[in-house]
Amino acid sequence: MSAIGIKPGDAPAEQKEPNYLNVSHTISSWLLTGDHKRIAMLYLVSVTFFFLIGSFAAGLIRLELTSPSGVILESDSYNRAFSTHGVIMVFFFLVVAIPAVFGNFLIPLMIGAKDLAFPRLNLLSWYMYVVGGAIALLGIITGGIDTGWTFYTPYSSMYSNTSVSTVIVGIFLVGFSSIFTGINFIVTVHKMRAPGMTWFRLPLFVWAHYATSVIMVLGTPVVAITLLLVVFERAFKLPVFNPELGGDPVLFQHLFWFYSHPAVYIMILPAFGVQSELIANFARKRVFGYHFVAFSSLAIAGLGFIVWGHHMFVSSQSMYEGLVFSLVSFLVAVPSAIKVFNWTATLHKGHVKMQSPMIYAIGFLGLFTVGGLTGLFLGAAGTDVHLTATYFVVAHFHYVMVGGTMLAFLGALHYWWPKMTGRLFHDGWAKITAILVFIGFNLTFFPQFIIGWMGMPRRYHYYYFAPEFQAYHIMSTLGSSVLALGFILPGFYLTYSLFKGPVAGSNPWGAHGLEWETTSPPPTLNFDQTPVVLDEVYDFDPVTEYEEAGSAQPVLSDTSTSTPEKDA
């Protein structure tokens, strides 16, 4: 076992060599690319676009809720606002963001491959995402949807007069995007690891994405056919969910949540992968209990498929089933808890450097824990009867989705920005942003736990029956403004870094991983020569590396300290 000497900030002359960004500049070289890194950048632009639209809808919601009798929206419009927010954020941002941007970019790099297994399928994946997104947007503009992102029948299949079919077609196409990405990742991880990269030498990021891909492949088709049946019922009057003709609306809920619960694990597992990387590399310490963390990803993927009924405790499903689902929901919390404990243990006696990605990682640790624990309140069938369809649920899933996935996305964006773009950003601004995001987030969503407990229903745009909630709602809206500021700021300093930022070396953070052993940005075929892996990825030598590690500033001359570069 040995550590490689990491030289922060290699010679900027590397920038003049062709890398995946400057190897060609034509539009068709971008739109017809097979390079996983370019596709990842295409995804980055598109998911950011959809995130902005979803955020706008969220802004409308928060604005509307500042007064007990509503502010600017009618009931119908408010229904469209929260449905749009849900659909865009769930299907077009959360499910896609980390896997499609960072998974695509990093998995081949992390395993030492030249590309994913199926580059053209990867490109098709992106096109399906963009086309699906365009169709969904078309639906949202031409009438919107007011069914909620959950499309419960029989309202969505029989009574809603909105563009349900159009939006569902968009979601259906994005589902294919998901499936193709999943297929790509699974085959790549199985078949294209570099020599010596055994399963247990893989970075935990790759394990997490492998588990995510399994869920994508097994779950997405179910929601695809379920939503398609809603469209068929609207268009061709296929009466599968119509109670008047013998159909069962609750069956829709079963089928919908059969995917949508594993879907939330699709949203969080890649974030777990990012978190493992951030914690290990910024604590300069091996992830505690690597095997446990790796297997817990698989356990979450497996168990996640048998807990869907906890969304349906009050749906008239059998009470016996409710009992079983409640029990298994408590079980599925265990692997997540294992991860949280292991990350915390990794920090113990590590040499922590609080650079911006680490701030996001620590924030994730706290916020995800809160979200996960409040999930247990909801997983217990008895308390769920009181809390379901209140703002408690809203706060819970925003804690895990925004406090978890979104923070991990931002952390990943900052951590791998130098690798993806070859530029360093100003870490000071990034730290301020991270703190703003944390504060704004808590201000937005913690009050929602309180009013949810007190009975504030979700998807209501008025609460005149409980005007005492107004103070909390105003606090929440205030927080959302701070959060919005935190989300906007990276747009400025990251874009600035593209043009004026210092040039990054191959390993500005002093991190471990095959991706840091090639240039920033990497060449099209990732590595000049195929790496051979001799040991696990997280073998840090804490003391020397901490002193030596870069603080995201370039070292223009080769003044590396004593640790020699070791081979073998």
């Binding site: 059969f258 498929f305 048998i306 059998s318 089933e321 008025y462 005149y464």
Partner: protein
């Protein structure tokens, strides 16, 4: 090192299956199809606790499963495939079964009914306070406008 001719690209994993194997499999599939149609025309008697209907259905599904297994094992090449292919074929089947867990809801609903309101039966209503309108409860709140 450069790959030149590919005439020798007969991978060990993809040995060419003799035609006769395929013919045998096809004939087996055909015979099974005939059997399943014939069996469907006969109303079989019940066995133990299973009614005749169930027996018939099980036989039909059983034959279908055997046909599927033949197609997967021989025609789709799983017999000569890698371990990963075998695992994948099995996993698909397992997960397909998982969806049928949804039936657990419907089969167990009768075990313990949640109390519900039956129209016309006053006693079945859960005890609750009579619902007043907002105006009744808040006669002095002039500054709150209800927007519809």
């Amino acid at each position: 090192m450069a790959s030149s001719s590919h005439a020798s690209h007969t991978d060990h994993h993809h040995h060419v299956v003799p035609t006769f194997t395929y013919v045998k499999t096809f004939i087996a599939l055909f015979i099974l199809m005939v059997i399943t149609i014939a069996a469907a025309k006969v109303n079989l008697p019940g066995v133990l606790f299973l009614s005749g209907t169930v027996v018939n259905q099980l036989i039909a599904l059983g034959i279908a499963t055997i046909k599927a297994a033949l197609v997967i094992w021989v025609f789709m090449g799983v017999r000569w495939g890698t371990t990963l292919t075998k695992i994948w074929a099995a996993a698909g089947f397992v997960w397909f079964i998982l969806i049928f867990l949804i039936l657990a809801d419907y089969t167990t609903r009768s075990y313990e009914q949640a109390q519900s309101f039956e129209p016309g039966v006053k006693e079945s209503a859960l005890p609750r306070a009579p619902i007043k309108s907002f105006q009744e409860e808040n006669p002095n709140r002039n500054n709150v406008r209800i927007r519809q």
